[in-house]
Symmetry: C2
Subunit: 361 residues, 2 copies
């Protein structure tokens, strides 16, 4: 089990993130192979890129045999492999961005093969084109729906397994890339008004006859937890909000891991964390809207989260006292977003959403 | 990652079996905790029993909140934890058998909450009562069906995730405990005529209007691969057979790991491997029926399998030349039953069955 590894960076990534990778669906044998075979962080991207290429080949073969469901699974494995190849690859941006595009390409190949399929859509705002995916549960609609928001280096392609938890509980799911995320990064960097992008997507959902516009929820993970509260505070069409990780502001920016600092600087369009710090502290702050939140709120937060420390949760708690119902689910042994407890906490959030929105928990 | 561990037994179990545990659905954080926190094999059973008890508590809470789907998942986690608590616990049989009964009890609690539900049935044969579960796919029947056979220490409760692969491809699934397995162990030890129990279950399936008796397949894993070929060779109602692991006989019994030797002796009703050897070599042998096999055959076998070495596969290949179609899927890097490649090989077997039986691959 494990090798003696001189590379602290690689050790850190595996220690901090393996629960997230596995919880999101990266095959465990691949994570184990990374743990036992990689000697340094330099080998990370290429390792996962090779896995992705292998899955694409297997998917092509399955598709040629008429095995559409397996092909969808395999393209999705490939997409996930590229997602995690590039997610912290900030020191070599052309490679990172190539990985990002490969992830999108493979998810696009998977989309129509998933069950239920993911339908791509695009919404215009300020001359930008917001890309997204919509999935509908079985049965007659109109269905309640939940808008799923990614965080710092997560995108609309990352939440397939969590979508499935929602879909099997009768909730439609909608994901999109906002400013600084995925495809939209190439058009728009992180900015203070993410909630306008969420609302533009809600405008679109209300045009879909399959969706019950009176039963909409929003959930965001990690930095997406911040975006979710912001979006639900401003847009009263949401009747349930889940912060999968509590974040109120970036007052602790200087104390983050350097990879998180680099990530924030990158998505905000700065070359270095030092240059980005002042902008980020101003752009990421719930003070202006948190007290406006009026819908039921569920906060899942790991007490051991070192990216979003507990004072962040306390600020959020103080500023959301006007909500009609709040659940503060804070496992004492949970790490960032409770990724180390994914198999227990993720169904719990989906259950709460289904009960709030009238799905089938 | 990992601790320096003086206990070779524990190290062996984790090295050999972690892919099986994870592939069958044991939560990865639990496997990781076992890897990093257990100091010796003596702690194994109690570790998993505590996990099971915790999942049962969480399941009870979910059920009280009307969260039936999550409750089913959590009872199933508990059942799996007891399955793997006891699966190699041959040195302390009262504890093993208590774990076996707890596994059954928790799966029974999960059964009606699963989606689709698992319906318990019982079939009489020779004064014995064969217990089983039937699950039906969505949509109008009658459905093709696949009978899933467990191996040495696997039982009808173990195949939930593989069942789901079949069900989403339009195949009903039927599992049962045969001689030496699970509940039936307490009535009947391992014996040479497992195929009669399979046929009794097929008799039952043909009485069910939801099942299309003209489209039946059989799949068995590990020792179950032996039972599957035996059953399909003798019962011509099967029109597809999958050996998830190729085993022809027990001529290599003396060269097995001691835990496998002990397991065989236990399920056959002997106190020691030495006492059991002659009986087992006589009772487990396909020579008398293999050449009768006439339905399409799919064999998945890991070339690195050290429980069922490659000469076993070669014997099977020589003796099944009369089948109309055979696929020999032998990944060069696969271990026992290719558990280290579960995420790729399991959908492939389900696809083949669906294509043979007219499901929806």
């Amino acid at each position: 089990m494990g090798v003696t590894r001189p590379d602290a960076r690689l050790e850190d990534v595996l220690r901090i993130h393996s629960g997230r990778l596995v919880g999101d669906g990266v095959p465990v044998p691949d994570v184990q192979e990374a743990e036992t075979s990689l000697a340094s962080w330099d080998e990370w991207f290429e390792f996962w890129a090779r896995k992705a290429q292998r899955y694409e080949t297997l998917a092509d073969e399955a598709l040629a045999q008429g095995r559409r469901r397996s092909a969808g699974l395999l393209y999705w494995y490939g997409s996930l492999a590229y997602q995690y190849a590039q997610f912290l690859w900030f020191h070599d941006l052309p490679v990172r961005e190539a990985g990002q595009r490969q992830k999108q390409r493979l998810y696009d190949r998977a989309a129509s093969l998933l069950s239920p399929p993911a339908e791509r859509f695009a919404v215009e705002l300020d001359g930008l084109s917001i890309p997204g995916f919509l999935r509908l549960p079985a049965g007659a609609g109109p269905h309640p729906a939940v808008v799923l928001l990614g965080g710092l280096e997560s995108t609309k392609e990352e939440s397939y397994l969590f979508e499935n938890l929602c879909l099997e509980r009768g909730l439609a799911t909608c994901t999109f890339d906002g400013p600084g995320q995925g495809e939209l990064f190439f058009q728009a960097r992180l900015r203070p008004d993410f909630e306008r992008f969420t609302s533009a997507v809600v405008d679109y959902l209300t045009t879909r006859p399959e969706i019950d516009a009176a039963r909409l929820g929003v959930l965001g993970r990690s930095l997406g937890g911040y975006y979710a509260v912001r979006s639900a505070a401003v847009d009263r069409r949401f009747s349930a909000c889940v912060a999968w990780g509590a974040m109120f502001d970036l007052s602790h920016y200087d104390r983050l891991h350097s990879s998180a600092q680099q990530g924030f600087a990158y998505v905000a369009g700065f070359d270095t964390p030092a240059e980005a710090a002042a902008y980020l502290r101003q752009a990421i702050d719930l003070s202006d809207v948190a007290e406006q939140l009026r819908c039921p709120l569920y906060v899942l937060h790991g007490a051991q989260d070192d990216l979003m420390p507990m004072p962040q949760l306390e600020k959020l708690r103080q500023m959301t006292k006007s909500v009609p119902e709040a659940v503060w689910d804070v496992p004492p042994d949970g790490n960032h977003c409770c990724h180390n407890l994914y198999h227990v906490v993720r169904p719990r959030m989906a259950d709460w959403l289904a009960q709030q929105l009238g799905g089938n928990p």
